[in-house]
Symmetry: C2
Subunit: 406 residues, 2 copies
Amino acid sequence: MKAAGVIVEYNPFHNGHLHHLTETRKMTNADLIIAVMSGNFLQRGEPAIVSKWSRTKMALNAGADIVVELPYAFATQHAEIFASGAVTLLDALKCSAFCFGSESGDIAAFEETVRYLHRHEEKYNAFVQEYIKLGMSYPSALSKAFQSLDDKQDLVNLSLPNNILGYHYIQARNSIASGMKAYTLGRKNANYHDEGFTDETIASATSIRKELGKKKGNIKSVRSFIPPSTFEELEAYQDTYGVFHDWEHYFPLLKYKILSSSPEQLSGIYEIEEGIENRFKSAAYSSSSFQEFMVTVKTKRYTWTRLQRMALHILTNTTKKEMNKHPSPQYIRLLGMTDTGRDYLNLHKKELSLPLISKLSSADPDDIYLDVKAVDIYALGSKNPDIQRKLIEQEFKQPPVYLKNE
Amino acid sequence: MKAAGVIVEYNPFHNGHLHHLTETRKMTNADLIIAVMSGNFLQRGEPAIVSKWSRTKMALNAGADIVVELPYAFATQHAEIFASGAVTLLDALKCSAFCFGSESGDIAAFEETVRYLHRHEEKYNAFVQEYIKLGMSYPSALSKAFQSLDDKQDLVNLSLPNNILGYHYIQARNSIASGMKAYTLGRKNANYHDEGFTDETIASATSIRKELGKKKGNIKSVRSFIPPSTFEELEAYQDTYGVFHDWEHYFPLLKYKILSSSPEQLSGIYEIEEGIENRFKSAAYSSSSFQEFMVTVKTKRYTWTRLQRMALHILTNTTKKEMNKHPSPQYIRLLGMTDTGRDYLNLHKKELSLPLISKLSSADPDDIYLDVKAVDIYALGSKNPDIQRKLIEQEFKQPPVYLKNE
């Protein structure tokens, strides 16, 4: 059986993601699709609107066959570590290919860009250091350094977010010497209309979340942009848990955490450096909302996303020591599968290069410590102690989601 | 000018406290009364119902002339450290006497008890260790050890809470070789009727808080138990801050703190020992309220008060290292004064044995660190960010409360 991998967040799943799954299956000619999905907290340093279990159901219903979790230690990181964790998991799961969305859409250009930057590594790094010293944010420095290099032909534009991720996926694959073939689906060039999509049926996850966040019970307003199964799952989540998780729900806890911590304690948190803890402290005192807090701490030196990840690590009390413990994933956490997915795992379970965890209770508590803590904190997005308990207990009691193929 | 000291919490001030102030003035024949008062968190490990500023106004309006703060590092401690901090401050303020309420009411018996236990110290301590090994709580072991000693005549019953405090006041005075004369006012023998009090006008602070905690706006139901000035102050506090502080308001923060901390991190918190952090962790998961949490962690080994103090130190993130930094107060924090009080301070300011802090901004941030943090956390008892900011800013902007004598 031939498996193709995708690296996703599904926050929430929408018609664009459906298109990506359908095209991946076609382009790679795979028998099944394996999705590596971020858990409850995401790469931009924010809570997922609904839990990993709910998003796993969305994925399986829309065409994924296996969903595994990208652990907190990789999911909430900048592109390089995020990509390295995700690609390592797809390789460990014996995928023969993977497919990512990009602004470029040209896989040959990605391969060439990785080779090109490998050849010019020293020069490139020197430029990056130079621009950082001038006060640029890290992504701006990367982009500017890239522009400063000569002899660039047929390369990918590395100032666009999905191109950057794609670049790191291929670089990660090369660095672990994986044989997986890479594919990319152009976001702009996608022939959505062939798939029955129109402009009226495609919206970004961001705009969908914005709509859902406005007030309770307006899931109907995003109905045309999501598959019917996602719609049902969003309704079920709201009925069961009464909440779509949002940073604002966690702001009182973040504020308390910052006010009750000394600057020294804050500087032990992952990514906190260069005295930014003092900016966080004074912003926590003066701010009434997470939005206000972020606007107050924002400087040219750091991107919004990076600051938001710092805030997340403060919220989850994730220290440098904890985060740097393992440079690569130690296990594969199975969140869900179809029966095709189950057949595949039965067939390959002895070849998997990392242990497969189906039940949390059978895992080494040390290994899963950060992920369990993330679930505990995520649960506090509800004010209701019964709902909190339900969300926490689910993590230990819920077996992988199982979906029978039709 | 002759000053007499009292050691108080005023949570809130009531007619029993008024009686204590009036009697202290009479018994000691003092020109003024100096109150050492706990700040926003109290000896039983709980938040004061209203802030230290509000309680300072109550005290000045009812007859105290100077109110100074017993710092967090002493106010939230067991009787011995609490007493030692408070007595040190009264002595530093040049009081010639102090007066405490007790079940006994017999000051000679207190003095004799302190001498007696000093003589039998070794035997007493050996008994205490023995009873603790048998699984008794510390106060029970103290009480039982005391009972086990021979030749006790005319001694105070040290199983009663106010007698225990009184014992430690006198012991503390002796250990710093202070010349202050001790007085005690019997709680049971107090001739309330002489003062115009009847059974209908005296209620404990506990029962008053219970009544105030029931629902908002029922200050009127406790009106007969408190002086009119306290009544007005409670009304003003509710109007301005919209809250009477209660442990339940802080429970979501405590729960978050426990869930986001490793057992190792919790065991670094002051008073946390012998694996109690694991009980706290599992109780935090299962509890929906502070009351439920406390009932769940309660064991025979620890008193409710001691466990509540542990919970408070977790909430305020107060480590062993922070708490053990200074064995005695480093400063006198002035909260309020009448003009008699001001005259006294002007007269004696050069003789005070500790620096007097009137403005927080002029204090060494290291010295006041725990007290400032306590104010920050106390402010989170309100859910309203504007109120939180008001309570926090007050601490730095509010000059000592000043009341002109009539």
